[in-house]
Amino acid sequence: MAWLQTEVLIIGGGVLGAAVARELSRYRVEAALLEREPDLGWGSTKANMSIVCQGADALEFRPEYKRSRLVWESIPMMEPLCRELGVPFKRIGELTLIRNNEERAKYQKLKTRAEKVGFTGLRFVDRDELFAMEPHVSREAVGALYNPDIAVVDPVRLTIALTESARRNGVEVHLETEVLGIERSGEEFLVETNRGEVRCRFIVNAAGVYVDRVARFLNADEFVLYPVKGFIGILDKDLGHLVSHEIHMRPEAPGEMNIVVPSVYGNLFFGVVLRLGRKGDNSTTKEMADTALRNLRKVLPGVSEGDVIHTFAGFMMFRNWELGWHECVVEASRKVPRFVNVSIGYPGVSAAPATAKEVLRLLEGEGLRLQEDPSFEPGLEAPPSFVDLPPEEQQSLIERDPRYGHVVCRCETVTEGEIVEAIRRGANTLDGVKFRTRAGMGRCQGGYCTPRVIKILARELGIPETEVTKKGKGSELLPLRSKELLG
């Protein structure tokens, strides 16, 4: 008897897997999603700059690439999707700084190419207009190419909302479930996991950094993916006013993007320094940090090391790293029937909505019958974000549940009510609470709230505090009690 029997199995609970799950939940299809970490979106989904774009950081706009098409189709879909799911979306626009004629000529070519494929909104701004829009950027700039469509989102919140919507509409979601092997048995796949065996007919391989490993279980991989590690830094919210658009400056060296962008929450993200990395090793290095800061100062000269409140590294799986440009892997395997590989590399968040639809088309091509489910419920009641509510709603929330009146994370104004709600909805680790509520993401980086969040987790989960982890088994935060070492 299999532990789980389903028709379509989605491997990977990042933004792509979650988008596919939600798309499938529109139809009368039995589906399940497996995620190896304790919560959703903990791979590349949480480790990027949260930008929704046309893939325009490369500003290449090559229509012959499937990746471009998927990203462009996604653009009009993202805002309605975020509104439907009740997650943040903010259109901020992008300014690519021009410092000399060579750069102007290059961006003129790109603008022309963009217009050819239908993006007519780009325009040049001169010095005066640039500095009226962005008074703090480096005076090295003589103008900019302005792209009004760029937006920012919260990729993890989006992923969680997509998954919750999918679950609400019938998709089974299993966390802390890792795929260890896959075999074929007639028309079925036998998927070995740490929880038991899963039997399914179709597999969507959206395993992020491990997409090639999963494909290799069945020799379905016909692609080579290079793990490219990107270093990103976050600046203190106090500096959030320094820019209001995504600012992009052409980097000096290959392997370095020079971007500063305000997040939906008002922090500034900067980066990205790219290096070929080793999967699973998300450590940052001093060299990457120094490079990122040096590049940042070319855009915002006044910023210093002390303004950086957090740094992290994430992976993008690039298909043709050596070309400096890459195509995605969104295709049915040519070797194994009913097996679809999904990997965008970059920009995964931006491409998610259209990629999900494309994956369903591919599944149909592999024989999946899609019949619309009239009971599909598109909306989702997002968990309340206390600090974003108007005062009357804050007051009535507190009257309903006084725990919304107890501020636990002072830096980001996160209340006990929100933390309890996040735990109710699936967070069972300190990082899980952090990514769902923002508690611990502020300037004190959890200095004040961590002990309190640990206590709340222990209380709500009914476990001793010594068992509360940062990010799953093996990362217990406080493994010992007072006096335990005194025999």
Binding site: S482, K483, L486, G487
Partner: protein, 121 residues
């Protein structure tokens, strides 16, 4: 005759004193201190090093898991580790007021362990 090095902690200067000590343990000479309080301190510290022990004890029957405590006066430095082991077995039960004795004669020192705050139920 031997020498002992003691750092005076009486004031921020932190004078490093050298004590010449006879075979019988009698302090013959003190050099390196810049004041007489310091000289007195280092001799005392040599003869009989003592420390105030501050720690916590586990509680029983209180919503608060720990009670902070202190020794009512300094105890011999070499007794600190043993005192911690003894203290580990203590369970403070409410109600207790700050200043109340939690454990008498800690580790045979003649010094009591007292609560430094009230313990509510």
């Amino acid at each position: 005759m031997k020498e002992a090095q003691i750092i005076c902690v009486g004031c921020p200067l932190g004078c490093r004193a050298t004590l010449k000590v006879s075979r019988e343990g009698e302090v013959l000479e003190v050099t390196g201190c810049r004041c007489k309080e310091g000289r007195r301190y280092v001799v005392e510290e040599f003869r009989n090093p003592v420390r105030v022990l501050t720690a916590t004890v586990l509680t029983e029957g209180s919503r608060v898991p720990l009670l902070p405590v202190r020794t009512s006066s300094p105890i011999p430095k070499e007794k600190l580790r043993e005192a911690m082991k003894v203290l580990a077995k203590v369970r403070a039960k409410p109600p207790l007021r700050a200043g109340e004795v939690v454990l008498e004669d800690l580790s045979g020192t003649g010094v009591d362990l007292v609560a430094t705050r009230d313990l509510p139920s």
